[in-house]
Symmetry: C2
């Protein structure tokens, strides 16, 4: 599998499809596992790491994962390639930056990754677009069980699965959803909403780490408690309480924008279009910020039937590529992902300094949004 080849399109989990996709961009479940009879990776010698890697790699590659898979030796990949995998959420930042033998088994559709020798010996991840936690849970449980038939996991009858970080002990599960909440920001309610999420023992992060949430309006909400609760209970709480509650806030804020700040909303969308269609230099942060406004406008049109002057113009913008349809969320997300720094450089074929990246990013977006 050539990374450069997959860098030319968005990954399926970011395609903007699936249930509740006007707010819930994606659903993800990760499981942390270690092997019985071995240390956690942080305490392993290089030899022991290599041994664990061999075992896990051969097990993972022998399974039927429902799709073609490819394997990456991360210690042999370039820094640019590893950054690209982080941008695509196929590996964690920790996994990219660690040292020593480590790898990743990834299905071609990118919905499944097994990170080998991350903080734990094995981290499984299932990632899908829209609100689909039950599907993610079913898939990851099935794979987890298949692996457990071949290896012995580090497990304590008292605590459950043992993990390098105590916060993962127990089920070892991390459930998270990526939510797009621009209206809560525009109406000045986002801080209150995030504080409420933290009160519910949830962790809140940006799409691409610290600070990016403010630019992209994308927030990743995940559980913090893994001990003493079942996987099912966590997934069910997300599906029945957390997601409905938070998305309801965002929906109310979108309605409020329409009734009380319609002119400001149109101004923001019109400005975002104008800048994306005309700028010659755009930073990654600004692209995230501006594309977020287009995504909001398009989703308000598709899911709430909203038609303001700016939104009508937005909907009529050309989509890139040979077939020019009306602008879609997929196109916006594609521009969003393909203009991230590592995507941009991998696609271009060589490293670029910040100004060259800003110029190339601006050109790609300009051409995509200015139909000939």
């Amino acid at each position: 599998m050539e990374l450069r080849q997959i860098s030319r399109d968005i990954t399926d989990w970011f395609s903007g499809s699936g249930p509740m996709s006007d707010i819930v961009v994606s659903s993800r479940i990760r499981l942390a596992r270690n092997l019985a009879g071995h240390r956690f990776p942080g305490s392993c010698s290089v030899e022991e790491k290599a041994e664990i890697l061999d075992v896990l790699k051969s097990v993972l590659l022998s399974l039927d994962l429902g799709d073609e898979v490819f394997y990456l030796s991360l210690d042999k990949e370039s820094e640019l390639a590893r950054s690209f995998l982080v941008e695509r959420h196929l590996i964690s930042r920790h996994h990219a930056m660690a040292s020593g033998p480590r790898g990743a088994v990834i299905t071609k559709n990118e919905s499944f990754t097994a990170m080998l020798l991350e903080e734990d010996a094995l981290r499984l991840q299932v990632l899908r677009s829209g609100c689909r936690l039950s599907e993610c849970a079913a898939q990851i449980d099935k794979i987890d069980s298949m692996i457990e038939e071949r290896v012995e996991y580090a497990f304590s009858p008292r605590f459950g699965y043992l993990t390098a970080c105590p916060t993962n002990v127990g089920t070892g599960i991390r459930v998270s959803v990526m939510l797009h909440m621009p209206a809560l920001k525009m109406t000045g309610q986002i801080e209150k909403c995030l504080a409420a999420a933290k009160d519910m023992n949830l962790a809140v992060r940006g799409l691409f780490g610290e600070g990016t949430e403010a630019a992209s309006d994308l927030y990743q909400i995940s559980n913090q408690v893994t001990l003493g609760v079942s996987e099912q209970a966590i997934v069910s709480e997300f599906e029945n309480v957390i997601i409905p509650e938070i998305t309801e806030y965002e929906k109310a804020a979108r309605k409020q924008l329409l009734t009380k700040q319609a002119e400001a909303l149109d101004d923001k969308i019109a400005r975002a279009m104008a800048l994306l269609q005309n700028a010659h230099l755009i930073s990654s942060q600004e692209a995230l910020f501006l594309l977020s406004h287009l995504r909001l406008g398009l989703n308000m049109h598709e899911h709430m039937g909203v038609s303001t002057p700016a939104i009508e113009r937005l909907c009529a913008l050309g989509a890139p590529g040979p077939d020019r349809h009306r602008l879609s969320i997929r196109t916006i997300n594609r521009l969003f992902m393909l203009t991230l720094p590592a995507h941009l450089q991998l696609n271009y074929g060589q490293p670029l300094d910040a100004t060259r990246r800003d110029a190339l990013r601006a050109r790609i977006i300009r051409e995509a949004l200015n139909p000939q």
Copy 2:
């Protein structure tokens, strides 16, 4: 003279014409005078003010000022009307905000104002577009002499003309030029340049008071010394030393933009056009900021023969009004002035809150820059 009528067009001194008008927007000379046998206005009773006002008004209105004149009783004008006169630089902020009897004699072409009972009993002002200090000096001297034939000015053989503020004693002259220096800002050299101006004993202010220079890139440079130097010496120092020196800095910065930051320059101009053509809400500060970029682009085209992709698109933008020519500096300055808060409201016919002003300003600019 109906203020609302003159609020529909720009004043001549801001038309963007005249010598060196790519950098020197306008030239202004003010003289401060008081009447012998009377206190300075700040120490006058209302009765004494009224008496001085009567004398000066009848003298001024009896003179041939080279153009039709109109008289305004400022204490009877609305706050909006007075703010409008300040935006047009026809009276000072101090004159607008003072209390008690006071007025202004203004020529219809707006090149001459006599402020009656400002800080001093009489402040004469001549204001012209471009670098024209000698013309301003000749005109103001002539008017000053005509007045002095009819009234006795407060004058000390030792100090010269006596004024309310000691910094004006002597010649009572304030010479100033309004300079457009966007390239010095973009190249990060403006602070150094302004510090050098201050070292030359010059005062530096923004177009519309504190803080606006940063938005509009328009700086008003004026003399601080009035005692012990002749009027001619001050005007000559401006024409032969100060203006050539400072404009040379700005010209060098414009060349530097082209050779070293051409892409950033095009980005700024393209963004300014895009926002002005598309925004639905624009604050006064932002309009000043964005229009400044258009003025720079157009002047670089006209005076330096520069043609970049963004500048070419800029030059092709439609001008407002029934006759659609290529975009001119006059059009940019007209939008600049007509969307100032008081101009906007006077033209509209009634006061508007900030959001309504921002919406109206955006609409006026959008329509002007989007030819049908």
